[in-house]
């Protein structure tokens, strides 16, 4: 039995009468790439925020990296990385300054920060723009940098909230190579997306409709289960059931 790093049990979040996530239950295993799919407004971001300690659940239980999301958010924060939907680097700082800043915030020492900075810049091919302001970089580079910074402290789990919004398929592909590399190094990846080609890259998928998890399996099994040719079709069959307006 593989180690479970995220364990959610009937996790629910209500905003007034509106139930954003409705008793979702799932497990994520160590080192896997777990895709979290759903249409806009299906409750993906809310679920992710609860797991990161940004939002308090209305009811239900969950453990992230072995820590309780109600009581041990501080310990959770030390073990996770997070990349938000909005681009989350400082645009008026340079590439190097951003790396150093986040390295410092995550508690790396000067030696580690120095090594990491060089390593990251080299690996992402940013040597020529290391002293450039981030605002001047192309979107794809920004997102790769943003991801690399989210895992600068070698977290157990990294949460990616629609990380590839607005970039072309080629850049998306390169971005996913970084994700594979991180997973290969033992970092569990929890990623929300609504690109179906990306869904194919995941080890396992959950599909949310109207705040509930309607399907959860490997892409291959899901296609068999729904008698579909592609993930697109699976998603379409499920999303059609949605009653909630966007």
């Amino acid at each position: 039995m593989e180690e479970v790093v995220i364990q959610a049990d009937k996790l629910t979040k209500k905003f007034g009468d509106f139930t954003a996530t409705d008793a979702i239950t799932f497990q994520v295993r160590k080192g896997e790439i777990f895709g979290f799919l759903g249409a806009n407004g299906a409750g993906k971001t809310t679920a992710m925020r609860m797991l990161c300690g940004l939002s308090v659940p209305t009811s239900g239980e969950a453990k992230v990296a072995g820590f309780d999301i109600y009581k041990e958010t501080e310990s959770i924060k030390k073990n996770i990385g997070y990349m938000s939907q909005k681009f989350s680097l400082y645009e008026d700082l340079t590439v190097v300054e951003n790396i150093r800043f986040f390295g410092g915030i995550y508690g790396l020492n000067n030696e580690q920060i120095k090594n990491k900075t060089e390593e990251l810049i080299e690996r992402l091919g940013l040597t020529s723009v290391r002293k450039e302001l981030v605002v001047d970089l192309p979107l794809g580079w920004k997102q790769k940098l943003s991801f690399s910074i989210a895992i600068i402290h070698q977290p157990k789990i990294v949460f990616l909230d629609e990380p590839t919004g607005g970039v072309d398929p080629l850049t998306r592909r390169q971005f996913w190579e970084l994700i594979y590399e991180a997973a290969h190094n033992g970092i569990t990846v929890f990623v929300t997306t609504h690109y179906m080609d990306e869904a194919e890259y995941c080890d396992r998928l959950s599909i949310m409709v109207d705040g509930k998890i309607k399907a959860l399996d490997t892409p291959k099994n899901l296609k068999m289960q729904f008698e579909a040719e592609s993930m697109d079709e699976v998603f379409y069959k499920l999303a059609r059931q949605a009653t909630r307006a966007e």
């Binding site: 308090v56 501080e74 989350s88 400082y90 300054e97 800043f101 986040f102 410092g104 915030i105 508690g107």
Partner: protein
């Protein structure tokens, strides 16, 4: 601690890299100090006047009742001792004094010439000159009313206390200090915190092990330091360019400035917690903070002239208290004993806003 330093360093980078912010921070104080050299002139009503009646005769009584009858003056008290003037001015009980010397009526009747003395608190020069003009006009009016075959003359001898040359500068330097600090601290802190929310970086910071309260602390430190630098530059300008000396204790002046900066920072934090976008934060800072500061600090428009409800409102404007403090220390040369009440009020406001900010500060976003 190291994380805090990393963060503070980043904040300084933000400020130093943005030319517009730098211009507002350091260009504006200089421009303002120079522009406000030409202060607006004001009409003054109901000035508290101290009368020292050493004559105690019919003529002196008549002048006093004439003064009392005018809408420009309220007689704070009538005494005999000249020593009372200084004390009364320092406590702020009166803004001017009229001294009617012994044998006033006798001199007037026999020699047809008598003297009176007018003393005015000139730390607010416009106010002082206006007071002087009104008083001499009332006295002239009185001599005309005597209607004798040979004209009577009363010669007023005028003395401006604290600011004998009637320089406009002493009046507006404290005002500009209050204005600049309000702008820099409130608006800049509010905007810089809200910007993190707007950009999405706040989310990342909240997910990091960095303590949320530290985010606020590290936002506040750079602006505190920059504001203190601003105070230094305004004071240097006022001493060496405008020739306004600092009469009181410089350290006390800095201490009080630090207190007022804290008040402004707490307001900035409060605004940033209540708003979601930079535009809203800026609007609230401008309309909600800057405007009342200009209107109600007493720096441009005398609070004495305002109707009662507005005078009440002025009491909750922090800049009003800071303006009084700076005037007392810088121009009158008074010590802490004179400004402890105002300091206490500022402290109260700071604690109040910090308190509700901490209560409202959401560590979690939703």
């Amino acid at each position: 601690m190291k994380r805090l330093l990393v963060f503070i360093k980043k904040e300084f980078t933000h400020v130093l890299r943005d030319k517009k912010t730098l211009l507002i921070l350091f260009g504006m104080p200089i421009v303002q100090v120079l522009i406000f050299g030409f202060v607006l002139s004001n009409e003054v009503k109901n000035t508290d006047l101290l009368v020292i009646d050493q004559a105690q005769d019919r003529a002196s009584k008549e002048i006093i009742s004439k003064v009392q009858a005018s809408e420009y003056f309220d007689i704070a008290s009538v005494t005999f001792d000249v020593q009372d003037v200084e004390a009364s001015f320092k406590k702020g009980k009166s803004k001017a004094a009229l001294i009617l010397p012994k044998d006033f009526e006798k001199n007037l009747m026999t020699k047809h010439v008598a003297q009176v003395q007018i003393l005015a608190d000139a730390s607010d020069p416009n106010h002082a000159t206006t007071i002087e003009n009104y008083l001499t006009a009332i006295i002239r009016d009185y001599t005309n009313s005597l209607n004798a075959s040979m004209p009577y003359t009363i010669i007023p001898e005028v003395r401006m206390l604290y600011n004998p040359q009637l320089k406009g500068a002493p009046n507006f330097v404290p005002g500009v200090m209050a204005l600049i600090l309000m702008l820099v601290c409130v608006m800049m802190t509010a905007i810089s915190i809200v910007r993190e929310k707007e950009m999405g970086t706040m989310e990342v910071l909240l997910v990091s092990p960095f303590k949320p309260i530290m985010v606020i602390v590290s936002k506040v430190v750079p602006y505190f330091i920059l504001s203190m630098l601003n105070i230094v530059s305004i004071l240097l300008l006022s001493v060496y360019v405008l020739g306004v000396p600092i009469k009181g204790n410089v350290l006390l002046l800095f201490g009080e400035s630090a207190l007022f900066i804290s008040t402004c920072l707490s307001l900035g934090i409060f605004i940033s917690i209540k708003t979601q976008t930079q535009q809203v934060a800026m609007l609230i800072s401008l309309m909600g903070m800057l405007l009342p500061t200009v209107l109600f600090s007493g720096f441009m428009f005398p609070i004495e002239n305002m109707p009662f409800p507005l005078r009440m409102i002025s009491n909750i404007v922090p800049a009003k208290w800071f303006y009084i403090i700076v005037k007392d220390i810088m121009i009158k040369g008074l010590g802490f004993a004179a400004v402890w009440k105002e300091s206490l009020i500022l402290m109260g406001i700071t604690v109040f806003f910090l308190g509700i900010s901490i209560k409202n500060f959401k560590i979690r976003l939703a």
